[in-house]
Amino acid sequence: MAIKVIKPGLSTTVQDLGRPGYYHIGIPVSGGMDRLALKCANLLVGNKEGAAVLEAVFMGPELQFTEDAVVAVTGAELPPLVNGEPRETWTSFKVKKGQTLSFGFLKKGARAYIAISGGIDVPVVLGSRSTYALGALGGFKGRKLDVGDRLPVGKGRVVKEGRRIPEKLRRSPGAPAELRMVPGLYWHRITEAAGKQFFSDTWKVAPEADRIGYRFRGGKPLDFVPREQPFGAGSDPSNIVDACYPYGSIQVPGGTEPIVLHRDAVSGGGYFMVGTVISADMDLIGQLQPHTPARFVEVTMAQALKARNDQTKLYDKIKSSL
């Protein structure tokens, strides 16, 4: 079966759990920014957790179905409508042949995951169906959806509608959002006072926030420890000899605005980094709207691993609740 795109939304892309293994040549992992929400959407419609879904940002698409299907929308509170009739988020529902799925206004979060029973069946490129738009790779023709696209959908299992993930098992960022990070990488480049300031400031998500990275504004500029710049690094104190950037790493070009790299990260470059957001909090970043206040919270490796473990346990609970 196929789905016809009547309206594409703002930037709707096909995503799964990504394509690891090619970062060394500059091809990032891609995949859903909020992986937990993506997996939940798939479970609700009877797909494997890593099936390809649609990731919609801020604004939903309008889709016409050519066959009956079961659908679930998770992540952001982006209210689904079937032929104009409201449906619940985090709950599976039926869309019949000929019906249209559209969305109301965004209430909370930033990215909604739209899973369809059978999964979006675009070709697998380097092991994944995820879209990497900067490299025009994967997904639907390597780009975000457009009017008139016909999305292929695989054959799904028959599942009931009304399967639901209870509210207490859903995860979303607080206010202000607290992003836990392990200091390191080039942390030693800033002064002790600047380091303290970095954690005590409340930042705000800048409008330049996308799948490549999230920029933050509003904190005080960071002071650098003076040094003679190493050969090949460049003259700005925030420059380093170009190195690889970890996912979640926090670079601060010029010492002014931190950028947290996400799933479509640029794989390397010449800016120093103060540390890395822990894996358990990467999903939360994907749900931050521009202008949302956020703080960086220092944690140890032990705390980072505990948070990761908590996230796994939460997912286990979700699975057993279904």
Binding site: P20, G21, Y23, H24, I25, G26, I27, V125, Y132, L134, G135, A136, L137, G142, M181, V182, G184, L185, P230, F231, G232, A233, G234, S235, N239, I240, V241, D242, A243, C244, P246, Y247, G248, S249, V266, S267, G268, G269, G270, M273, G275, T276, V277, I278, S279, M301, A304, L305, R308, T312
Partner: protein, 291 residues
């Protein structure tokens, strides 16, 4: 040269072989990264060599970060004893220097440049004490370059010129990055050359353009059929100056599927190279040309 290890959150370890760029630091990072790959450590998902550092991504549910760090330190010890020898490839990349497209782009963003009255080539030639555009082209194409890192975006090579540090071309990045760079622009920032694999933002000085595609996600171009990215860290590149006519002919040949990339396998020995750089480079050129 002192190796520094740092965790990048709970999924990465970052290994800096040296703070400053040098061929020794590059070799150390490449040989350690290669050794990590060969060790086939369970849980490792990505190994990314960079200019003077490298990074390993792993699944901490499979291998604990502290255990991963221990394994890397052991590999460092073993790598220190190894002979700095790598299997490499030498690749010829024709460059149309001072071309109209990068010049036009440069003019659109002149207010972001250090010297709005010169072109990027003229400016870089002057600050490096080279004899104008021709002197610059001779210096830039006169010695081969190492691909010291591939990344930023898909398939983009960073290149480090294989000459004495005092002869290396250096230039600052634009004061503020451009929002546009033509695809396949040959650029320069700090001591590194780069070839932009896709059109987009960029801050490097722009010197010319190559007609040879280096990234093809559809894998239709002949030399990118096996893999969509041309370059790998450790490759050696020779830039060959060409004019408009050869540029147009090459573009047409690529389109018709008739372009044949000049590429040869070579073994590179750092110690031999350091004994006589110009002599060694001449031998590499000989290998490329089938001597």
């Amino acid at each position: 040269m002192k190796t520094r290890y740092s965790y990048g959150g709970d999924e990465h370890i970052f290994v800096e072989c040296d703070e400053e760029m040098s061929l020794d630091a590059f070799f150390k990072s490449l040989s350690m990264a290669t050794a990590v790959k060969k060790a086939k450590i369970k849980g490792v998902t990505e190994i990314c060599p960079a200019n003077a550092s490298f990074q390993v991504k792993f699944d901490p549910d499979v291998i604990k970060p502290a255990e991963m760090l221990k394994r890397l330190r052991m590999i460092e010890k073993a790598a220190a004893k190894a002979n700095p020898l790598i299997k490499s490839r030498i690749i010829e990349i024709p460059v149309y220097y001072n071309d109209p497209w990068t010049r036009e782009t440069a003019m659109r963003f002149r207010d972001r440049h250090q010297d709005p009255k010169s072109t990027d080539i003229e400016y870089t030639a002057r600050i490096n004490g080279l004899d104008g555009v021709d002197g610059f082209i001779r210096a830039h194409s006169g010695a081969p370059w190492f691909v010291s890192m591939v990344g930023f975006v898909a398939g983009l090579p960073f290149l480090y010129q294989m000459v004495d540090r005092k002869r290396q071309i250096q230039s600052p990045k634009y004061l503020r990055p451009r929002t546009d760079t033509p695809k396949l622009t040959v650029g320069h920032g700090g001591c590194f050359a780069a070839i932009y694999s896709v059109r987009g933002a960029g801050g490097y000085q722009m010197f010319g353009i190559t007609p040879v595609p280096i990234y093809d996600p559809n894998q239709k171009i002949k030399h990118l059929r096996d893999f969509m990215c041309l370059f790998r860290p450790g490759d050696i590149v020779r830039f060959k100056p060409i004019g408009r006519e050869e540029y147009d002919e090459t573009v047409a040949a690529v389109e018709k599927g008739k372009f044949k990339l000049k590429i040869k396998d070579v073994t590179f020995d750092l110690r031999e190279f350091q004994k006589d750089m110009d002599g060694y480079n001449a031998k590499l050129m000989g290998a490329l040309n089938g001597h």
